[in-house]
Each structure stands twice: as structure tokens, then as C-alpha cells.
Amino acid sequence: MKNTELPCIARLRNGKSATLALAEASDGALLLEFYRSMSEEDRLVLKDDVTTAEWLDRFLAALHRGEALSVVGKLDGEIRGEATLYRTLHGWARHVGEIRLNVDRSARGQGLGLELARHIVKLAIDRGIDKLVAHMVDSQIAAKRTFEKLGFHKEAELPGHVKDILGKKYDLLVYANDVSYIWSAMESMLGDFRPDRATR
């Protein structure tokens, strides 16, 4: 029986095809290569220093523990984009997942980011996440547009919350999407399901 939509092929606007797949430990070297190839400008406001081997170790360990889930987009065998869901498995925020999305400059504007984000949102919902958040700064226009297409909206703005690698401060925008309603429909269906009244 079918279990997942991944791996799959995503058709990009430029006619090329990207392979989307769940990231595995064997993707570690390619991931590091992907992030190390990003310009300093593109890494200005990332939460972690993703160019270090230490970061990769932590990332792969989080994948192994189930605290992170990552979808990579590959073109010609190289990673050109990556979306990660971070979650805590215990505590008061275990129903919340944070999505981080990065796309190589050469692959932007082709729909790869939207495809990666769409898949990671779906995986998050399937894993019981009720609420998704994505953090960004105001200048990340494409990222805002991508998440808005997936139902996210600006829920909070924290002034001066982000300091980039050069020391400049930005306001942090917290985009959120409450996806709990999807499973509320299933829950109410189980409570008093009447086949003759079932609607989709």
C-alpha cells in the first residue's frame, strides 16, 4: 500500500525537473556542500551556522531522533533546496512545528521552494502537528509569498529580534498556520459518524 508521496519529481517553471526526497544521513555531505555554496548574503539571517560539520552532526542527530524532518530538492544530483520541520517530542509545544526553508539562488523563482514547503507542511500534518510556524524578516519577500500561498499569516512581529552575521538588527516576523482544523473534522466524524450524512 502507498505510504508517502516522496520521493517524487517536481516540474519547475523553467522546464527542469527536481527530485524531492526525504533527507537521510547519506545526504549529509551534499547538504553541507549546499549550505557552504550559499553566499554570505543568503546566510545573513539563518538561525544556525549551517556551514560547519558540528551543525551537520546536530542536524543528523535531530533527524535520527525524529525531532527534525527534512525534504531536499535535487537538480542534476545536487541539492538546490531544503525544507526542514523542527519539532519537540515532549512538552507544551509538542503540537507546534517550525519550518525552515532554503533554496539556492540559482533555483529561485522556479517553484522549487513552494514544492518543498508544500511537502514539508503535508508531512507535518501527517505527523500530528497542529500548528506550524515559520520565522523570517521583512525583506524575505519570496519566502513570505510562499508561506502565504500555503495558508500562513503573520501572527507576530518582534522588533529587533534578529541580528544578522554582520551585526545588523531586523524585526522578526512570525508566520503561522493552524492546521488543527483538518484533524478536527476527522475527530468529529468519529464521535457521531452517520454514513448517510457523511460529506467531504
Binding site: 500500500m1 502507498k2 501527517d126
Partner: protein, 182 residues
């Protein structure tokens, strides 16, 4: 005439009726068989005894009530106590491993198969899909319905946006049922 009488029993809120409805829908709409379903539940939406009676047959069904079930699908101990006396001597009991204890409760001629469906559902991310794991277990362990028919019935029955996880739950139960028979 091949006729199979099925009783699904448990508590309101576990998705008993949906479980029965999917089995009936898979048989009648997607597997070219005849099927009937009768549902019964207490006044509360959740927590009260709840059951569904399904008959699947190759021919038209004249009487829709289950008299002697061939298969019991059970998700609560009360349902076992209530329905076990009705099962045919060569019947099959499919039950949730933690919620139903069958030891000493069934005739020796009745076969009982257990599945940790609650654990599977929790591992998948939603305890809510316990009933879909049980549907898959039923399909895998009985071989009564083609898996494609059950998949289509699930997709046709669950809310939009929940299809993927429900299919995973179905697959988990189906594979477990097939493995027990192997």
C-alpha cells in the same frame, strides 16, 4: 452463496461506525459485492458502547442483521464480553492488543488475532487513526476484500487533508494482518 457476517464493536469516539462503513463501502462500491450495515450506539457521542453490523455477500442480502458473526473486530473489552457468545464456532476475532484481553474468553475453536493498533496509530502521529489501522488489519487478516478497494473506500470516507496518514494507517494494519497469516 458466500456470505460473511461481521460485527465491529468498541466505544463511541473510536470510529467504530466509520470502520464498519469503510468495510461495507469497499465491498459494495469498489469490490463488486453486496453489503449492508446496521449501526448502534448509546446516547453519548463518545464513551458509550457502539457497534456496527456488516454483511458482505456475493449475492443480494435479504436480512441485514448479523446473527452469528464470522468475524468480530473489537476495540473494547465490553464489546468482547457482549459479542463473543454470538461468534460462530470457527469464527475469527480481530482485536486491539491492549484494549481487549481474550484469554479464557473465547471457545477454543475460535481464532483470535491481536494487533497493537493504538501503538501503531500513536507512532504514526494520531491516535485518531486507530480505527483505520483496524480496517487494514481486517482486510489483511481476512483477505475478504482487495486492498485497492479498501484504499479507495478510505480515501472516499476520510476528511480532506487526512488522506495520507489514513492510508499509512491502513497499510500498517494490512501489512500486520498479512504477516500474521504468513
Amino acid at each position: 452463496m458466500t456470505k460473511t457476517e461481521i460485527r465491529v464493536g468498541g466505544l463511541g469516539g473510536q470510529g467504530i461506525i466509520l470502520c464498519g462503513s469503510i468495510i461495507g463501502k469497499a465491498a459494495a462500491i469498489y469490490a463488486g459485492k453486496h453489503a449492508t450495515m446496521i449501526q448502534a450506539f448509546g446516547p453519548e457521542a463518545r464513551g458509550s458502547a457502539c457497534s456496527a453490523q456488516i454483511i458482505v455477500s456475493d449475492e443480494a442480502i435479504g436480512y441485514p442483521y448479523v446473527r452469528r458473526p464470522d468475524v468480530l473486530v473489537l476495540m473494547s473489552q465490553d464489546a468482547l464480553i457482549q459479542f463473543a457468545p454470538q461468534i460462530k464456532p470457527d469464527g475469527l476475532v480481530l482485536h486491539e492488543e491492549e484494549l481487549v484481553q481474550t484469554a479464557g474468553k473465547l471457545p477454543s475453536t475460535v481464532r483470535a488475532l491481536a494487533i497493537p493498533a493504538t501503538r501503531f496509530a500513536e507512532e504514526l502521529g494520531r491516535r485518531l487513526v486507530l480505527n483505520i489501522v483496524m480496517v487494514g488489519f481486517f482486510a489483511g487478516a481476512t483477505g475478504l476484500l482487495p486492498q485497492e478497494a479498501v484504499e479507495k473506500a478510505v480515501l472516499d470516507s476520510v476528511p480532506k487533508g487526512t488522506e495520507s496518514l489514513n492510508l499509512q494507517a491502513l497499510g500498517k494494519g494490512y501489512d500486520y494482518g498479512r504477516a500474521l497469516l504468513a
